[in-house]
């Protein structure tokens, strides 16, 4: 709902990820695949509270927004997303941040070449 007072707005989390695919993936297809994975795993009710939005995706690196209460569920859904259409993918979560600015800076600029598990 638009125009909510700050106290009622939900806090957000930004998930930086890298996508390895066997052919080019478009952002719309990816967003759809993540939604499908989430709905298939948690159903319509819990998916409605997730607030997923694909903020940025350049074909390899991306940022996914969600509500902070749904973070774990979104991470699980992203991990279990194995296909986008007919293309096989490996989604690698680089890290999570509370602001998009910090997320971009930390995970997509500074640590772009770091390992997914050790470097972040």
């Amino acid at each position: 709902m638009k125009g909510l007072p700050p106290a009622l707005r939900k806090r957000k989390r930004y998930i930086a990820f890298r996508l390895i695919a066997n052919s080019e993936v478009e952002s719309k297809e990816l967003a759809l695949a993540i939604w499908e994975s989430l709905i298939s795993l948690f159903g319509d009710y819990y998916s409605a509270h997730s607030g997923i939005w694909l903020e940025y995706f350049d074909g390899e690196y991306g940022i996914l927004r969600c509500h902070h209460t749904a973070l774990e569920k979104v991470k699980v859904a992203l991990t279990l997303t194995s296909r986008v259409g007919n293309k096989e993918i490996i989604p690698i979560i680089l890290g999570v941040s509370g602001t998009i600015k910090r997320c971009e800076k930390k995970y997509l600029e500074v640590l772009k070449d770091a390992f997914a598990t050790d470097g972040l």
């Binding site: 298939s40 690698i92 979560i93 997914a116 598990t117």
Partner: protein, 201 residues
């Protein structure tokens, strides 16, 4: 040491992406694997089949059994050569087998790849069985490991994502890491005898 179990030889250049220290490759012919620690994959659908394949196991291999028949899995747990019961989409374990695994110190693998290629009712069943297995494993303190169990590159996931997923469904990740460490030491360290007992010097 964080190690993952896979069913194929992963490409060296992609290994760093996943954050594991090493991979154990389970194949039916471990002699073909050079770069990684060897795991002998026994796919058996009858007890006789299991016995004949176990005779081919060599020292230094990690022996894993994969079967959809609960009788074969129970028999496998009772064999001294068997180190691990491998996971797959159609693995069937019963309560007695899991309980027996704790007594015989046979590790139970719980893998992520079985969740990736299925949807709907089949995936619901897999979730149900995995959560049940995790509960029984907790109850009897059965050795268990959490792995990707990937049979191709696209079934692999980073270490942290695998642990996050299993933690979400109720597994004790720290215990799984400790059991994995113990299993790898048993395979690679000649001085290791058991927890708290090793040859010095």
């Amino acid at each position: 040491m964080d190690v993952d179990f896979v069913r194929f030889v992963p490409p060296r250049e992609k290994i760093d992406l996943f954050g594991f220290d090493n991979f154990i490759v389970f194949t039916e012919n471990p002699d073909e694997v050079d770069d990684f620690p060897r795991g002998y994959l026994i796919q058996a659908e009858s007890v006789a089949d299991l016995s004949s394949k176990l005779r081919r196991a060599k020292k230094g291999w990690l022996v894993g059994v994969k079967s959809s028949d609960p009788k074969v899995n129970r028999q496998a747990v009772m064999r001294k050569q068997v180190d691990i019961l491998l996971d797959s989409m159609d693995r069937k374990l019963d309560y007695t087998t899991v309980k027996l695994a704790a007594e015989k110190d046979v590790t139970i693998e719980i893998c992520l790849s079985k969740f990736l290629n299925v949807r709907g009712l089949k995936r619901i069943r897999i979730f149900e069985e995995t959560i049940d297995t995790i509960q029984i494993v907790k109850k009897f303190d059965v050795p268990f490991v959490l792995t990707s169990g990937a049979s191709n590159m696209f079934e692999m996931r980073p270490k942290r994502q695998i642990y996050d997923f299993f933690s979400f469904i109720g597994a004790d990740v720290e215990k799984a890491k400790a059991f994995m460490h113990r299993l790898v030491r048993r395979l690679t360290d000649p001085n290791y005898i058991m927890d708290g007992l090793e040859i010095e010097g």
